[in-house]
Amino acid sequence: MLRTNKKGGFIFEPIVALGLVVVLVYAFIVVTNKQAMFNERIGEKQLKLIDAYYQGEKHLIYTDYAAKLSAMQALYDLALYGGEIEEKCGNYFGYTLWSDQNKPIGACFPTYKDNFAAMFEEHLNSHFTTHEETSVGYTFDIKNSLDVIGMPDSGIDFKIGNVNIREVAISDFIVAPTLNQQPQDKKPILTPSPQTPLSSSCPLVSAPRPSGVKVDRIVLHHTGDDAASKTCRALQQFGLSVHYIIDRDGTIVYAVDEGKMAFHAKGQNSKSIGIEIVNTGRASMQYTPAQYAAIKQLINDIAKRWPDVKVDNEHVVAHYQVSDIGKWDPSPNFDWAQIGLGSHQTLASLGKKAPTEYGYA
Protein backbone atom coordinates (compact mmCIF):
# COMPACT_ATOMS: atom_id res chain seq x y z
CA MET A 1 0.00 0.00 0.00
CA LEU A 2 2.96 2.14 0.53
CA ARG A 3 3.87 1.87 -3.15
CA THR A 4 0.38 2.81 -4.28
CA ASN A 5 0.97 6.13 -2.76
CA LYS A 6 3.77 6.61 -5.18
CA LYS A 7 2.86 7.42 -8.75
CA GLY A 8 5.43 4.99 -10.31
CA GLY A 9 4.33 2.02 -8.20
CA PHE A 10 0.67 2.61 -9.00
CA ILE A 11 1.35 2.36 -12.72
CA PHE A 12 3.71 -0.62 -12.50
CA GLU A 13 1.27 -3.23 -11.23
CA PRO A 14 -1.50 -2.70 -13.83
CA ILE A 15 1.12 -2.97 -16.57
CA VAL A 16 2.41 -6.26 -15.17
CA ALA A 17 -1.15 -7.52 -14.80
CA LEU A 18 -2.02 -6.53 -18.33
CA GLY A 19 1.10 -8.24 -19.68
CA LEU A 20 0.34 -11.48 -17.89
CA VAL A 21 -3.24 -11.44 -19.11
CA VAL A 22 -2.02 -11.01 -22.68
CA VAL A 23 0.39 -13.95 -22.28
CA LEU A 24 -2.32 -16.16 -20.81
CA VAL A 25 -4.81 -15.26 -23.53
CA TYR A 26 -2.21 -16.08 -26.19
CA ALA A 27 -1.41 -19.41 -24.51
CA PHE A 28 -5.11 -20.23 -24.29
CA ILE A 29 -5.59 -19.49 -27.99
CA VAL A 30 -2.63 -21.67 -28.93
CA VAL A 31 -3.85 -24.55 -26.83
CA THR A 32 -7.49 -24.45 -27.78
CA ASN A 33 -6.93 -23.93 -31.50
CA LYS A 34 -5.83 -26.76 -33.79
CA GLN A 35 -2.52 -25.06 -34.25
CA ALA A 36 0.25 -27.53 -33.42
CA MET A 37 2.27 -26.75 -30.36
CA PHE A 38 5.20 -28.62 -31.80
CA ASN A 39 6.08 -29.42 -35.38
CA GLU A 40 5.79 -33.14 -34.74
CA ARG A 41 4.18 -35.19 -32.05
CA ILE A 42 6.27 -37.03 -29.59
CA GLY A 43 7.85 -40.04 -31.30
CA GLU A 44 6.20 -39.25 -34.61
CA LYS A 45 9.38 -39.28 -36.65
CA GLN A 46 10.43 -42.61 -35.17
CA LEU A 47 7.05 -44.09 -36.05
CA LYS A 48 7.35 -42.80 -39.60
CA LEU A 49 10.76 -44.39 -39.93
CA ILE A 50 9.34 -47.69 -38.72
CA ASP A 51 6.49 -47.29 -41.19
CA ALA A 52 8.96 -46.68 -44.03
CA TYR A 53 10.74 -49.88 -43.06
CA TYR A 54 7.52 -51.87 -43.37
CA GLN A 55 6.67 -50.24 -46.70
CA GLY A 56 10.10 -51.31 -47.91
CA GLU A 57 9.45 -54.85 -46.69
CA LYS A 58 6.19 -54.95 -48.62
CA HIS A 59 7.89 -53.81 -51.82
CA LEU A 60 10.56 -56.42 -51.24
CA ILE A 61 7.96 -59.16 -50.93
CA TYR A 62 6.43 -58.04 -54.24
CA THR A 63 9.83 -57.97 -55.95
CA ASP A 64 10.82 -61.35 -54.57
CA TYR A 65 7.66 -63.08 -55.74
CA ALA A 66 7.71 -61.27 -59.09
CA ALA A 67 11.26 -62.50 -59.67
CA LYS A 68 10.32 -66.07 -58.79
CA LEU A 69 7.32 -66.01 -61.10
CA SER A 70 9.40 -64.48 -63.89
CA ALA A 71 12.10 -67.12 -63.53
CA MET A 72 9.53 -69.90 -63.66
CA GLN A 73 7.78 -68.44 -66.68
CA ALA A 74 11.07 -67.85 -68.51
CA LEU A 75 12.11 -71.46 -67.95
CA TYR A 76 8.75 -72.62 -69.17
CA ASP A 77 8.96 -70.46 -72.28
CA LEU A 78 12.45 -71.74 -72.90
CA ALA A 79 11.21 -75.31 -72.86
CA LEU A 80 8.05 -74.59 -74.82
CA TYR A 81 9.32 -72.77 -77.88
CA GLY A 82 12.99 -72.20 -77.43
CA GLY A 83 12.77 -69.00 -75.51
CA GLU A 84 12.80 -65.37 -76.56
CA ILE A 85 9.79 -64.70 -78.67
CA GLU A 86 11.05 -61.63 -80.46
CA GLU A 87 13.30 -63.63 -82.70
CA LYS A 88 16.58 -61.85 -83.18
CA CYS A 89 18.23 -64.68 -85.07
CA GLY A 90 15.11 -65.97 -86.75
CA ASN A 91 13.14 -69.04 -85.87
CA TYR A 92 12.65 -72.57 -87.04
CA PHE A 93 8.99 -73.56 -87.22
CA GLY A 94 8.19 -71.29 -84.36
CA TYR A 95 11.15 -72.30 -82.23
CA THR A 96 13.58 -69.53 -81.45
CA LEU A 97 17.06 -69.77 -82.87
CA TRP A 98 19.61 -68.69 -80.31
CA SER A 99 22.40 -68.04 -82.72
CA ASP A 100 22.93 -67.64 -86.41
CA GLN A 101 26.09 -68.84 -88.08
CA ASN A 102 25.74 -66.09 -90.65
CA LYS A 103 25.85 -63.40 -87.99
CA PRO A 104 28.72 -62.40 -85.74
CA ILE A 105 28.80 -64.05 -82.34
CA GLY A 106 26.94 -61.97 -79.82
CA ALA A 107 24.50 -60.56 -82.35
CA CYS A 108 21.77 -62.84 -81.07
CA PHE A 109 21.62 -64.98 -77.96
CA PRO A 110 24.74 -67.14 -77.94
CA THR A 111 23.63 -69.29 -75.03
CA TYR A 112 20.48 -70.42 -73.33
CA LYS A 113 21.42 -68.21 -70.40
CA ASP A 114 21.34 -65.09 -72.55
CA ASN A 115 18.00 -66.18 -73.89
CA PHE A 116 16.72 -66.94 -70.41
CA ALA A 117 17.96 -63.55 -69.19
CA ALA A 118 16.13 -61.71 -71.96
CA MET A 119 12.87 -63.49 -71.18
CA PHE A 120 13.31 -63.13 -67.44
CA GLU A 121 13.80 -59.39 -67.77
CA GLU A 122 10.75 -59.08 -69.99
CA HIS A 123 8.52 -60.93 -67.52
CA LEU A 124 9.93 -59.07 -64.53
CA ASN A 125 9.32 -55.72 -66.19
CA SER A 126 5.74 -56.68 -66.92
CA HIS A 127 5.22 -57.22 -63.18
CA PHE A 128 6.81 -53.88 -62.39
CA THR A 129 4.66 -52.17 -65.00
CA THR A 130 1.61 -53.04 -62.95
CA HIS A 131 3.26 -52.08 -59.67
CA GLU A 132 5.09 -48.88 -60.46
CA GLU A 133 6.21 -48.11 -56.91
CA THR A 134 8.61 -51.04 -57.03
CA SER A 135 9.95 -50.24 -60.48
CA VAL A 136 13.48 -49.14 -59.65
CA GLY A 137 15.28 -51.22 -62.24
CA TYR A 138 17.41 -54.25 -61.51
CA THR A 139 20.71 -55.50 -62.77
CA PHE A 140 20.91 -59.23 -62.48
CA ASP A 141 23.38 -61.99 -63.00
CA ILE A 142 22.73 -65.64 -63.69
CA LYS A 143 24.92 -68.20 -62.05
CA ASN A 144 25.68 -71.70 -63.28
CA SER A 145 22.67 -73.37 -61.72
CA LEU A 146 20.31 -70.73 -63.10
CA ASP A 147 20.23 -68.85 -59.84
CA VAL A 148 19.24 -65.29 -60.62
CA ILE A 149 20.94 -62.67 -58.48
CA GLY A 150 19.41 -59.23 -58.79
CA MET A 151 20.75 -55.92 -57.55
CA PRO A 152 18.61 -52.78 -57.54
CA ASP A 153 19.81 -49.85 -59.60
CA SER A 154 18.55 -47.47 -56.93
CA GLY A 155 16.53 -47.36 -53.74
CA ILE A 156 12.88 -46.59 -53.39
CA ASP A 157 12.10 -43.19 -51.96
CA PHE A 158 9.60 -42.89 -49.17
CA LYS A 159 8.21 -39.58 -48.11
CA ILE A 160 8.42 -39.21 -44.38
CA GLY A 161 6.30 -36.35 -43.16
CA ASN A 162 5.66 -33.42 -45.41
CA VAL A 163 9.14 -32.38 -46.28
CA ASN A 164 11.71 -34.95 -45.32
CA ILE A 165 12.69 -37.60 -47.79
CA ARG A 166 14.48 -40.73 -46.76
CA GLU A 167 15.68 -43.46 -49.00
CA VAL A 168 15.24 -47.04 -47.98
CA ALA A 169 17.44 -49.36 -49.95
CA ILE A 170 15.79 -52.39 -51.41
CA SER A 171 18.04 -55.35 -50.94
CA ASP A 172 19.03 -57.74 -53.65
CA PHE A 173 17.08 -60.83 -54.53
CA ILE A 174 18.38 -64.29 -55.21
CA VAL A 175 15.98 -66.49 -57.05
CA ALA A 176 16.30 -70.12 -57.74
CA PRO A 177 13.23 -71.20 -59.66
CA THR A 178 11.80 -73.38 -56.94
CA LEU A 179 8.37 -71.89 -56.48
CA ASN A 180 5.82 -74.63 -56.31
CA GLN A 181 3.75 -73.57 -59.20
CA GLN A 182 2.75 -74.67 -62.64
CA PRO A 183 3.62 -71.97 -65.17
CA GLN A 184 0.80 -71.01 -67.41
CA ASP A 185 0.28 -70.80 -71.08
CA LYS A 186 -0.38 -67.12 -71.42
CA LYS A 187 -4.02 -66.44 -71.92
CA PRO A 188 -5.33 -64.08 -74.57
CA ILE A 189 -6.88 -60.91 -73.25
CA LEU A 190 -10.05 -61.73 -75.14
CA THR A 191 -11.29 -64.90 -76.66
CA PRO A 192 -11.16 -64.09 -80.33
CA SER A 193 -14.26 -64.95 -82.27
CA PRO A 194 -13.90 -63.50 -85.74
CA GLN A 195 -17.17 -62.31 -87.14
CA THR A 196 -15.69 -61.93 -90.59
CA PRO A 197 -16.66 -64.80 -92.89
CA LEU A 198 -13.65 -67.05 -93.33
CA SER A 199 -13.69 -69.24 -96.37
CA SER A 200 -10.53 -71.22 -95.87
CA SER A 201 -7.69 -71.72 -93.49
CA CYS A 202 -3.94 -72.04 -93.52
CA PRO A 203 -2.47 -73.47 -90.30
CA LEU A 204 0.72 -71.63 -89.41
CA VAL A 205 3.07 -71.59 -86.44
CA SER A 206 2.18 -69.51 -83.43
CA ALA A 207 3.14 -69.03 -79.81
CA PRO A 208 1.41 -67.79 -76.67
CA ARG A 209 1.43 -64.05 -76.32
CA PRO A 210 3.64 -62.87 -73.45
CA SER A 211 1.83 -61.87 -70.32
CA GLY A 212 1.22 -58.20 -69.69
CA VAL A 213 1.53 -57.15 -73.33
CA LYS A 214 -1.51 -55.53 -74.89
CA VAL A 215 -2.46 -56.11 -78.50
CA ASP A 216 -2.80 -52.61 -79.86
CA ARG A 217 -2.05 -52.66 -83.58
CA ILE A 218 -2.55 -54.33 -86.93
CA VAL A 219 0.43 -54.71 -89.25
CA LEU A 220 -0.19 -54.98 -92.99
CA HIS A 221 2.12 -56.79 -95.41
CA HIS A 222 2.09 -57.86 -99.03
CA THR A 223 2.88 -61.46 -99.76
CA GLY A 224 5.26 -61.27 -102.71
CA ASP A 225 3.25 -63.74 -104.79
CA ASP A 226 -0.09 -63.89 -106.56
CA ALA A 227 -2.18 -66.43 -104.63
CA ALA A 228 -2.99 -67.14 -101.00
CA SER A 229 -2.24 -70.83 -101.46
CA LYS A 230 1.32 -69.99 -102.51
CA THR A 231 1.69 -67.61 -99.59
CA CYS A 232 0.48 -70.28 -97.21
CA ARG A 233 3.00 -72.83 -98.44
CA ALA A 234 5.84 -70.29 -98.33
CA LEU A 235 5.05 -69.24 -94.78
CA GLN A 236 4.85 -72.87 -93.67
CA GLN A 237 8.16 -73.58 -95.32
CA PHE A 238 9.96 -70.67 -93.68
CA GLY A 239 8.39 -71.03 -90.26
CA LEU A 240 6.71 -67.62 -90.46
CA SER A 241 3.10 -66.71 -89.91
CA VAL A 242 0.38 -64.08 -89.90
CA HIS A 243 -3.13 -64.19 -88.58
CA TYR A 244 -4.92 -63.61 -91.89
CA ILE A 245 -4.17 -63.66 -95.60
CA ILE A 246 -6.31 -61.61 -97.99
CA ASP A 247 -6.49 -63.33 -101.38
CA ARG A 248 -6.86 -61.53 -104.69
CA ASP A 249 -10.63 -62.11 -104.80
CA GLY A 250 -11.09 -60.75 -101.29
CA THR A 251 -11.21 -64.13 -99.57
CA ILE A 252 -9.99 -63.89 -95.98
CA VAL A 253 -7.87 -66.89 -95.15
CA TYR A 254 -7.66 -67.67 -91.47
CA ALA A 255 -4.19 -68.75 -90.28
CA VAL A 256 -3.54 -68.08 -86.58
CA ASP A 257 -5.84 -67.49 -83.65
CA GLU A 258 -5.79 -63.79 -82.72
CA GLY A 259 -5.15 -64.68 -79.10
CA LYS A 260 -1.83 -66.20 -80.10
CA MET A 261 1.25 -64.56 -81.47
CA ALA A 262 2.23 -64.93 -85.10
CA PHE A 263 5.72 -64.34 -86.50
CA HIS A 264 5.52 -61.60 -89.10
CA ALA A 265 7.18 -58.38 -87.93
CA LYS A 266 10.29 -58.27 -85.81
CA GLY A 267 9.67 -56.47 -82.55
CA GLN A 268 5.93 -56.21 -83.15
CA ASN A 269 4.72 -59.79 -82.91
CA SER A 270 3.67 -59.82 -79.30
CA LYS A 271 1.43 -56.76 -79.59
CA SER A 272 0.09 -57.01 -83.11
CA ILE A 273 -2.17 -58.87 -85.46
CA GLY A 274 -0.61 -59.54 -88.86
CA ILE A 275 -2.42 -59.44 -92.19
CA GLU A 276 -0.83 -60.48 -95.48
CA ILE A 277 -2.35 -59.06 -98.65
CA VAL A 278 -1.73 -61.15 -101.72
CA ASN A 279 0.28 -59.05 -104.16
CA THR A 280 3.58 -59.67 -105.91
CA GLY A 281 4.72 -56.22 -104.95
CA ARG A 282 5.54 -55.36 -108.52
CA ALA A 283 4.65 -51.91 -109.80
CA SER A 284 2.44 -53.51 -112.39
CA MET A 285 0.15 -55.25 -109.90
CA GLN A 286 -2.61 -53.25 -108.28
CA TYR A 287 -4.57 -54.27 -105.19
CA THR A 288 -8.12 -55.31 -106.07
CA PRO A 289 -11.31 -53.57 -104.88
CA ALA A 290 -12.33 -56.87 -103.31
CA GLN A 291 -9.14 -56.88 -101.25
CA TYR A 292 -9.70 -53.33 -100.04
CA ALA A 293 -13.25 -54.20 -99.04
CA ALA A 294 -12.11 -57.33 -97.22
CA ILE A 295 -9.31 -55.49 -95.38
CA LYS A 296 -11.66 -52.73 -94.29
CA GLN A 297 -14.17 -55.25 -93.05
CA LEU A 298 -11.52 -57.29 -91.26
CA ILE A 299 -9.78 -54.43 -89.43
CA ASN A 300 -13.11 -53.03 -88.25
CA ASP A 301 -13.98 -56.48 -87.02
CA ILE A 302 -10.66 -56.88 -85.18
CA ALA A 303 -11.01 -53.44 -83.57
CA LYS A 304 -14.32 -54.52 -82.04
CA ARG A 305 -12.67 -57.45 -80.30
CA TRP A 306 -9.47 -55.75 -79.15
CA PRO A 307 -10.16 -52.54 -77.21
CA ASP A 308 -6.66 -51.12 -77.74
CA VAL A 309 -6.79 -51.52 -81.51
CA LYS A 310 -8.27 -48.44 -83.19
CA VAL A 311 -8.94 -47.99 -86.87
CA ASP A 312 -6.57 -45.09 -87.37
CA ASN A 313 -3.11 -44.34 -88.72
CA GLU A 314 -1.50 -45.03 -85.38
CA HIS A 315 -2.91 -48.49 -84.85
CA VAL A 316 -3.15 -49.82 -88.40
CA VAL A 317 0.40 -49.69 -89.64
CA ALA A 318 2.53 -50.88 -92.53
CA HIS A 319 5.40 -53.27 -92.08
CA TYR A 320 7.69 -50.61 -93.56
CA GLN A 321 6.73 -48.28 -90.71
CA VAL A 322 7.77 -50.62 -87.91
CA SER A 323 10.83 -52.23 -89.48
CA ASP A 324 14.27 -50.77 -89.77
CA ILE A 325 15.76 -53.46 -91.98
CA GLY A 326 14.62 -52.36 -95.42
CA LYS A 327 11.05 -53.66 -95.44
CA TRP A 328 8.80 -51.93 -97.96
CA ASP A 329 5.51 -53.80 -97.70
CA PRO A 330 2.76 -53.23 -98.47
CA SER A 331 4.04 -51.96 -101.78
CA PRO A 332 3.57 -48.35 -102.95
CA ASN A 333 0.51 -49.37 -105.00
CA PHE A 334 -1.45 -49.91 -101.82
CA ASP A 335 -3.97 -47.08 -101.54
CA TRP A 336 -4.57 -46.34 -97.87
CA ALA A 337 -7.50 -44.11 -98.70
CA GLN A 338 -9.39 -47.18 -99.90
CA ILE A 339 -9.53 -48.45 -96.33
CA GLY A 340 -10.35 -45.04 -94.89
CA LEU A 341 -6.81 -44.05 -93.89
CA GLY A 342 -6.00 -41.52 -96.59
CA SER A 343 -3.46 -39.53 -94.60
CA HIS A 344 -1.37 -42.59 -93.78
CA GLN A 345 2.42 -42.41 -93.91
CA THR A 346 3.67 -43.69 -97.26
CA LEU A 347 6.95 -45.39 -98.02
CA ALA A 348 8.20 -42.24 -99.75
CA SER A 349 7.23 -39.98 -96.84
CA LEU A 350 9.56 -42.03 -94.64
CA GLY A 351 12.41 -41.56 -97.10
CA LYS A 352 12.33 -45.20 -98.17
CA LYS A 353 12.15 -46.61 -101.69
CA ALA A 354 10.75 -49.75 -103.22
CA PRO A 355 13.31 -51.86 -105.12
CA THR A 356 13.89 -50.81 -108.71
CA GLU A 357 13.84 -54.44 -109.88
CA TYR A 358 10.14 -54.48 -109.04
CA GLY A 359 9.56 -51.75 -111.59
CA TYR A 360 9.71 -48.72 -109.35
CA ALA A 361 11.63 -45.65 -110.32
Binding site: M1, T4, E13, P14, A17, L20, V21, L24, A27, F28, V31, T32, M37, R41, I42, G43, E44, L47, K48, I50, D51, Y54, E57, K58, I61, Y62, Y65, A66, K68, L69, M72, Q73, S126, H127, T129, T130, H131, L179, N180, Q181, P183, Q184, K186, K187, S211, G212
Partner: protein, 200 residues
Protein backbone atom coordinates in the same frame (compact mmCIF):
# COMPACT_ATOMS: atom_id res chain seq x y z
CA UNK B 1 -14.21 12.84 -3.67
CA UNK B 2 -16.24 9.91 -2.38
CA UNK B 3 -16.47 8.43 -5.87
CA UNK B 4 -12.83 8.92 -6.40
CA UNK B 5 -12.02 7.20 -3.17
CA UNK B 6 -14.29 4.18 -3.89
CA UNK B 7 -12.77 3.73 -7.36
CA UNK B 8 -9.33 3.89 -5.92
CA UNK B 9 -10.34 1.36 -3.24
CA UNK B 10 -11.69 -0.99 -5.91
CA UNK B 11 -8.47 -0.84 -7.87
CA UNK B 12 -6.45 -1.42 -4.77
CA UNK B 13 -8.70 -4.33 -3.87
CA UNK B 14 -8.27 -5.86 -7.34
CA UNK B 15 -4.54 -5.49 -7.18
CA UNK B 16 -4.41 -7.14 -3.79
CA UNK B 17 -6.11 -10.22 -5.32
CA UNK B 18 -4.18 -10.00 -8.58
CA UNK B 19 -1.85 -12.97 -7.99
CA UNK B 20 -4.77 -15.15 -7.03
CA UNK B 21 -6.41 -14.45 -10.40
CA UNK B 22 -3.13 -15.20 -12.19
CA UNK B 23 -2.81 -18.49 -10.31
CA UNK B 24 -6.29 -19.66 -11.30
CA UNK B 25 -5.70 -18.72 -14.94
CA UNK B 26 -2.41 -20.58 -15.02
CA UNK B 27 -4.01 -23.70 -13.59
CA UNK B 28 -6.63 -23.59 -16.36
CA UNK B 29 -4.01 -23.16 -19.06
CA UNK B 30 -1.89 -26.00 -17.68
CA UNK B 31 -4.89 -28.34 -17.70
CA UNK B 32 -5.56 -27.40 -21.30
CA UNK B 33 -1.94 -28.12 -22.24
CA UNK B 34 -1.99 -31.53 -20.59
CA UNK B 35 -5.25 -32.34 -22.35
CA UNK B 36 -3.73 -31.41 -25.69
CA UNK B 37 -0.62 -33.50 -25.13
CA UNK B 38 -2.79 -36.43 -24.14
CA UNK B 39 -4.57 -36.24 -27.50
CA UNK B 40 -1.25 -36.29 -29.33
CA UNK B 41 -0.12 -39.39 -27.49
CA UNK B 42 -3.34 -41.09 -28.54
CA UNK B 43 -2.55 -40.25 -32.17
CA UNK B 44 0.93 -41.73 -31.78
CA UNK B 45 -0.56 -44.90 -30.35
CA UNK B 46 -2.82 -45.18 -33.41
CA UNK B 47 0.25 -44.91 -35.68
CA UNK B 48 1.88 -47.61 -33.63
CA UNK B 49 -1.18 -49.79 -34.22
CA UNK B 50 -0.62 -49.62 -37.97
CA UNK B 51 2.99 -50.68 -37.57
CA UNK B 52 1.95 -53.62 -35.44
CA UNK B 53 -0.51 -54.77 -38.10
CA UNK B 54 2.11 -54.33 -40.84
CA UNK B 55 4.56 -56.41 -38.87
CA UNK B 56 2.05 -59.19 -38.31
CA UNK B 57 0.94 -59.32 -41.93
CA UNK B 58 4.51 -59.48 -43.25
CA UNK B 59 5.46 -62.20 -40.80
CA UNK B 60 2.30 -64.10 -41.66
CA UNK B 61 3.14 -64.08 -45.37
CA UNK B 62 6.66 -65.32 -44.69
CA UNK B 63 5.59 -68.13 -42.39
CA UNK B 64 6.34 -71.54 -43.90
CA UNK B 65 3.47 -73.99 -44.13
CA UNK B 66 3.19 -77.54 -45.34
CA UNK B 67 0.75 -77.90 -48.19
CA UNK B 68 -0.74 -81.33 -48.45
CA UNK B 69 -2.40 -80.87 -51.83
CA UNK B 70 0.82 -81.40 -53.71
CA UNK B 71 2.64 -84.66 -54.21
CA UNK B 72 4.79 -85.03 -52.23
CA UNK B 73 3.98 -82.66 -49.37
CA UNK B 74 5.73 -79.38 -49.89
CA UNK B 75 6.84 -76.62 -47.57
CA UNK B 76 6.25 -73.14 -48.92
CA UNK B 77 5.48 -69.77 -47.41
CA UNK B 78 1.91 -68.57 -46.99
CA UNK B 79 2.57 -65.81 -49.52
CA UNK B 80 3.81 -68.29 -52.12
CA UNK B 81 0.79 -70.47 -51.53
CA UNK B 82 -1.53 -67.52 -52.13
CA UNK B 83 0.36 -66.48 -55.27
CA UNK B 84 0.32 -70.04 -56.52
CA UNK B 85 -3.42 -70.42 -56.08
CA UNK B 86 -4.51 -67.06 -57.49
CA UNK B 87 -2.19 -67.37 -60.49
CA UNK B 88 -4.45 -70.07 -61.82
CA UNK B 89 -7.23 -69.14 -64.17
CA UNK B 90 -10.04 -69.06 -61.61
CA UNK B 91 -12.65 -70.03 -64.19
CA UNK B 92 -10.90 -73.37 -64.60
CA UNK B 93 -10.44 -74.14 -60.91
CA UNK B 94 -12.78 -76.85 -59.72
CA UNK B 95 -15.10 -76.25 -56.80
CA UNK B 96 -13.27 -79.01 -54.90
CA UNK B 97 -9.99 -77.14 -55.30
CA UNK B 98 -11.62 -73.91 -54.12
CA UNK B 99 -13.04 -75.62 -51.08
CA UNK B 100 -9.72 -77.22 -50.30
CA UNK B 101 -7.88 -73.91 -50.67
CA UNK B 102 -10.32 -72.16 -48.37
CA UNK B 103 -10.06 -74.90 -45.77
CA UNK B 104 -6.26 -74.92 -45.90
CA UNK B 105 -6.05 -71.15 -45.68
CA UNK B 106 -8.44 -70.95 -42.78
CA UNK B 107 -6.64 -73.64 -40.84
CA UNK B 108 -3.18 -72.25 -41.45
CA UNK B 109 -4.13 -68.58 -41.06
CA UNK B 110 -5.89 -69.09 -37.77
CA UNK B 111 -3.09 -71.27 -36.43
CA UNK B 112 -0.49 -68.63 -37.28
CA UNK B 113 -2.31 -65.45 -36.31
CA UNK B 114 -4.07 -66.73 -33.21
CA UNK B 115 -0.70 -67.71 -31.78
CA UNK B 116 0.72 -64.27 -32.56
CA UNK B 117 -2.34 -62.27 -31.62
CA UNK B 118 -3.93 -63.99 -28.65
CA UNK B 119 -6.98 -62.21 -27.29
CA UNK B 120 -7.08 -59.76 -30.18
CA UNK B 121 -9.87 -59.63 -32.71
CA UNK B 122 -8.58 -59.90 -36.28
CA UNK B 123 -9.79 -60.73 -39.75
CA UNK B 124 -7.76 -61.58 -42.85
CA UNK B 125 -9.09 -61.04 -46.36
CA UNK B 126 -8.03 -62.32 -49.78
CA UNK B 127 -9.36 -61.54 -53.26
CA UNK B 128 -12.62 -63.26 -54.04
CA UNK B 129 -12.52 -66.79 -55.34
CA UNK B 130 -16.07 -66.56 -56.58
CA UNK B 131 -17.93 -63.69 -58.12
CA UNK B 132 -20.60 -63.32 -55.48
CA UNK B 133 -18.41 -61.46 -52.98
CA UNK B 134 -15.74 -58.79 -53.45
CA UNK B 135 -13.35 -60.67 -51.17
CA UNK B 136 -12.78 -63.96 -49.40
CA UNK B 137 -12.51 -64.13 -45.64
CA UNK B 138 -9.44 -66.29 -45.17
CA UNK B 139 -9.61 -66.45 -41.40
CA UNK B 140 -10.61 -64.63 -38.25
CA UNK B 141 -9.91 -64.71 -34.55
CA UNK B 142 -11.37 -67.56 -32.56
CA UNK B 143 -14.64 -67.41 -30.75
CA UNK B 144 -12.90 -67.38 -27.37
CA UNK B 145 -12.41 -64.35 -25.20
CA UNK B 146 -11.37 -61.52 -27.47
CA UNK B 147 -12.56 -58.77 -25.23
CA UNK B 148 -9.25 -58.26 -23.45
CA UNK B 149 -7.73 -55.02 -24.54
CA UNK B 150 -4.51 -55.88 -26.29
CA UNK B 151 -1.77 -53.71 -27.66
CA UNK B 152 -4.05 -52.33 -30.34
CA UNK B 153 -6.07 -49.37 -29.18
CA UNK B 154 -8.25 -48.80 -32.21
CA UNK B 155 -8.70 -50.36 -35.63
CA UNK B 156 -5.51 -51.16 -37.47
CA UNK B 157 -5.22 -52.47 -40.99
CA UNK B 158 -2.46 -53.40 -43.38
CA UNK B 159 -2.37 -54.50 -47.02
CA UNK B 160 0.22 -56.23 -49.14
CA UNK B 161 0.05 -56.55 -52.92
CA UNK B 162 1.34 -59.80 -54.35
CA UNK B 163 2.17 -60.36 -58.03
CA UNK B 164 0.46 -63.13 -59.99
CA UNK B 165 1.64 -65.19 -62.93
CA UNK B 166 -0.58 -63.43 -65.44
CA UNK B 167 0.73 -59.99 -64.41
CA UNK B 168 -2.37 -59.46 -62.31
CA UNK B 169 -2.16 -58.78 -58.58
CA UNK B 170 -3.69 -60.07 -55.37
CA UNK B 171 -4.37 -57.85 -52.38
CA UNK B 172 -4.04 -59.43 -48.94
CA UNK B 173 -5.52 -57.41 -46.11
CA UNK B 174 -5.26 -57.87 -42.35
CA UNK B 175 -7.56 -55.95 -40.03
CA UNK B 176 -7.18 -55.87 -36.27
CA UNK B 177 -10.01 -54.50 -34.18
CA UNK B 178 -10.05 -53.63 -30.53
CA UNK B 179 -13.18 -55.24 -29.18
CA UNK B 180 -13.49 -52.53 -26.55
CA UNK B 181 -14.57 -50.08 -29.22
CA UNK B 182 -18.27 -49.37 -29.58
CA UNK B 183 -19.92 -51.90 -31.87
CA UNK B 184 -21.28 -49.13 -34.09
CA UNK B 185 -17.78 -47.79 -34.75
CA UNK B 186 -16.46 -51.21 -35.69
CA UNK B 187 -19.44 -51.94 -37.92
CA UNK B 188 -19.18 -48.63 -39.73
CA UNK B 189 -15.51 -49.16 -40.32
CA UNK B 190 -15.87 -52.70 -41.60
CA UNK B 191 -18.75 -51.84 -43.89
CA UNK B 192 -17.05 -48.75 -45.20
CA UNK B 193 -13.57 -49.99 -45.90
CA UNK B 194 -13.79 -53.69 -46.38
CA UNK B 195 -17.14 -54.82 -47.62
CA UNK B 196 -17.61 -52.02 -50.10
CA UNK B 197 -14.16 -51.07 -51.22
CA UNK B 198 -11.83 -53.88 -50.17
CA UNK B 199 -8.79 -51.73 -50.51
CA UNK B 200 -6.21 -50.03 -48.32
Amino acid sequence: MTNTNSKRAAIVDFLSHFWAYIFVAMVIVLFAIFFKLGQQDQASITSLDSNIVDSNLINYLKTPIIVTTGHPKEKISVGEYIVSYYSQDQSTVSSESKTQFQATMRQQTEAILNSRLPNIKWKLFLPSIDSTLPFTLAGESGTGDTSTVGVVKGIGQSCVTLPLQNSDQALVKLVIINDALPASTVLTHIKGTIYKEYSC
